[in-house]
């Protein structure tokens, strides 16, 4: 289409070339993975013995496992011995000193996404001490959280300061043997976030990884643990819409959520890692295990995700609905363009009586991308009157891409009602014509239709995220329709 768009796509790639500078630092481990590396990592992070034991146990499990190949993904073999499993935070000397030094094209994208000024610097990788706004905001927020009794810190800090909580909860939702990538993560996870919301507390603000200064480099093996005690409530935002600087190719994160009685966790993700270039070269492999455990009665876990980046996405945020009357929700938009591949979906495991789940999944596939929804709804005989509603819609743009739906439904309880519907279609000519006729450019018309298609999911996002997510869709799909 227009040169303008081609420009932007080129920019995206260019930005990343900029971000992918390899700097050999003394604090980066040599590639390879064995017990010694894990011991070194654990020692470097000053972890207690139980943590090291847990890592080693996970590593033993991982060695016996094989990389799964059931997903509808075409992945180049990964050499796990060619990866460095620890890289110290980037030296501030390499980072740009101010926004003036940042690639103007990158700033243009931020402008398009409508990202607030003070966040742009941080996202562009400007050395943290240069970003005064962000620091002060973060400090104010930390004070507020402390007053409410909320623990929100990096995983490393939590291991040191709250070892009893970590020991009690870590791996209880996603045990190391759960799957290949979870085992790998358990052995070598670098850092992540830890959240504990005490009984009866409603977290005074949305927790977002933006404003976190204590985990500057969360690294490729992120581990997140969120515990909502009885009657508490928290909304957690992960990632951001802006293309991010990142030098790691393989990401294997684990997120564990636990809700006690009457507690609610709302977990929103926007993922926009580097998707590779137009020929499908490079790009992040994103293998994520996310699971929430509704342990208490009337508890609720809600996942909302906008997946726009990564060359390969393998991700199934799930809910184990154990408590009676507990609720699980999954709202997802997955956009794939060029050679991106996504195999994503959810699992809703109904164990308790009167448990309910809703799954809304929107897949958009353009270019030569493959986009699959894979989900499981399982109703145990104990889940009397369980209810599930699933809707998966796919939108195809171009005749080279694919959209797939693989929903599993296993029902063992006659009083349960499980409904699934899925559709696949393209943007209708008459819709486009209608918009064009009213003076909208073709691009604006497509954007409007796509945003309408995703509305059910965007509505679930926190406000400021929702606005950015819409802009992100437009940027991600630029050039896809012509």
């Amino acid at each position: 289409m227009s040169t303008n768009e081609t420009d932007i796509e080129a920019l995206v790639a260019k930005k990343y070339e900029h971000g992918f500078i390899t700097d050999i630092e003394s604090e980066t481990f040599e590639p390879g993975l064995d017990e010694n590396i894990i011991r070194r990592l654990s020692k470097l992070k000053g972890e207690p013995q139980f943590m090291l034991d847990w890592r080693l146990k996970s590593f033993a499990i991982w060695k016996k496992m094989r990389q799964p190949n059931w997903a509808k993904l075409n992945i180049e073999p990964i050499d796990y011995q060619a990866i460095s499993y620890y890289s110290a935070p980037k030296s501030p000397d390499d980072a740009p000193k101010s926004l003036d030094e940042v690639d103007p094209k990158l700033l243009e994208t931020y402008e398009k996404l409508g990202i607030p000024l003070h966040e742009r610097a941080k996202l562009a990788g400007v050395a943290v001490d240069a970003v005064f706004d962000s620091v002060s905001v973060a400090t104010t927020f930390k004070g507020k959280l402390h007053d409410a009794g909320v623990i929100f810190c990096s995983f490393s800090d939590a291991v040191k300061e709250h070892p009893e909580l970590i020991e009690q909860y870590l791996g209880t939702v996603v045990p190391p043997r759960d799957n290949y990538f979870a085992a790998l993560n358990s052995a070598v996870f670098s850092d992540g976030s830890f959240v504990y919301i005490p009984k009866g507390v409603r977290c005074p603000m949305e927790l977002s990884t933006y404003f976190r200064i204590n985990a500057a480099n969360t690294g490729q093996f992120e581990r997140t643990l969120i515990i909502a005690a009885e009657g508490s409530h928290v909304s957690y935002l992960e990632g951001c819409t802006a293309p991010q600087r990142d030098e790691n190719q393989l990401h294997a994160a684990v997120v564990e959520l636990i809700t006690e009685q009457d507690a609610t966790i709302k977990y929103s993700t926007v993922q926009n890692w580097y998707p590779g270039d137009e020929e499908g070269k490079g790009g992040i492999y994103n293998f994520v295990t996310k699971r929430g455990d509704c342990r208490g009665a009337r508890s609720k876990i809600s996942w909302t995700q906008v997946e726009a980046g990564s060359a390969v996405t393998w991700k199934y945020p799930s809910c184990v609905l154990r408590g009676e009357d507990s609720v699980g929700e999954f709202y997802s938009v997955a956009v794939t363009n060029n050679y991106q591949q996504a195999d994503t979906g959810t699992k809703m495991i109904h164990i308790g009586a009167n448990t309910r789940s809703t799954i809304i999944s929107k897949g958009i596939s353009a270019g030569k991308a493959q986009n699959a929804y894979r989900g499981l709804v399982k109703i145990f005989p104990t889940a009397k009157n369980a209810r599930n509603y699933t809707q998966c819609d796919s939108l195809l743009m171009g005749d080279q891409c694919g959209a797939h739906t693989f929903p599993y439904m296993e029902v063992k309880e006659p009083s349960a009602i499980v409904e699934h519907e899925a559709t696949t279609s393209k943007i209708a000519e008459d819709q486009l014509f209608y918009c064009r006729q009213r003076g909208l450019s073709e691009e604006d018309a497509v954007n409007m239709i796509v945003n309408g298609f995703c509305k059910d999911v965007f509505r679930e996002l926190p406000m400021e995220f929702a606005v950015e997510a819409q802009a992100l869709m437009n940027v991600s799909l630029e050039g896809a329709v012509g």
């Binding site: 005749d399 694919g402 739906t405 693989f406 929903p407 296993e410 006659p414 699934h420």
Partner: protein, 430 residues
Amino acid sequence: MNLDPKNYRAALANTLKQDADAGHPEWLLPIRNKALEQFLKQGFPHTKLENWRYTNLAPMSERSNASVAQPVAVSDAIVPATDSDSLMLVFINGMFSSHKSSHSATLANGVVSNMAAQLDTDGAEDWLRNSGDSDLAQLNLAMTNDGAVVQIPDNTELAETIHIIFSNTAEANVFPRVIIQLGRNAKATVVEHHISNAACVSTAITNISCGEGSRITYQKLQEEHAGSFHVAAQTIKLAKDSHCDIVNIDLGAAIARNDLRILLQGSGAAAKVNGLFLVDAERHADNHLRLEHQAPHTRSRAQYAGVMANKGHGVFNGMIHVAQTAQKTDAALNNKNLLLTPGAEIDTKPELEIYADDVKCAHGSTTGQLDAVSLFYLRSRGVPQQIARNMLVQAFALEVVQQLTSKNLREYIQNSVEQRLNELGAVIET
């Protein structure tokens, strides 16, 4: 489950001897040998395979192992009612029964016959070689004694229904084979009916090819004995502008598995499928449907209904696959299930795999109980709870039975479905 190759080789030797005695052509020997070796290499499918995730064939392979080499005794067969004007081909324990079959095949240039009688015609080799890629196709190829061949020439319409009956009266291993070939603009109605009064092991393969503009109505009925194992696969190839109308009803067997694969290969091809599986007692029924849209402007509609009760375990897997070339595909698939009692289970997976953009594809699946509103409607008109429930369950199941074209057959199946549901009526009262 380890196979005992000795038993299978003995059974093959027996089959080959029969071939020789019957004077069957020589090309049979190498392809049978090769097929058996291939089967022995891969064995029975197991639950680690995605396609067999919910269906464990271990009991079948055990029985097959023990009995495959045993000769079959013939006793009285049950032959279901059929319309008087239909052409019957009856096979008892795998062998063609000439005197039970009707001989009115006055078809000019066409063939309605048992397969064994046709093996020396041109093209017979292809019937067997093209066994399809279902998991037990090679076993069937190695062992099949007989089956039905239906060939309808170009521009010919067969008025009579062809009723192919595989009736099993002994605990035998049978390997029925059905070949149906329709010429250009030909039209035919074929019923493939499996019925038994003894616990048999049946591995059936059906291949249907439809020429340009042809119309096939194909109805498969499965009423095997409650101790039987029935694994069947059908491949249907549709050329340009040809249509198929399919009914698939699964009522019997301890473990039943049906793989129905429809390839829409020419533009304008259309497929309509209606399925019913009634799974009570400790039965297990697994229905796989694969609709492969390979050409533009193709259309498919599929609807499966499942009724599960007691310890019945139903499985449904329906895939709509649209190739990149199959623009303007219009496909819809729906699976609805009723779980009537605790202990019953349904595992359903409607899938879409789409590589073309200008398509309209949808699938849906529902699992639940009877619709409370409908129930209330009947109750408000003075219908007692139990009767109201029965009415709704029967309506749910009989919707598919109504699609059967042969009047006698329809009534016969309807009676047996109603009877089964009435027996369940007492159990499902809540």
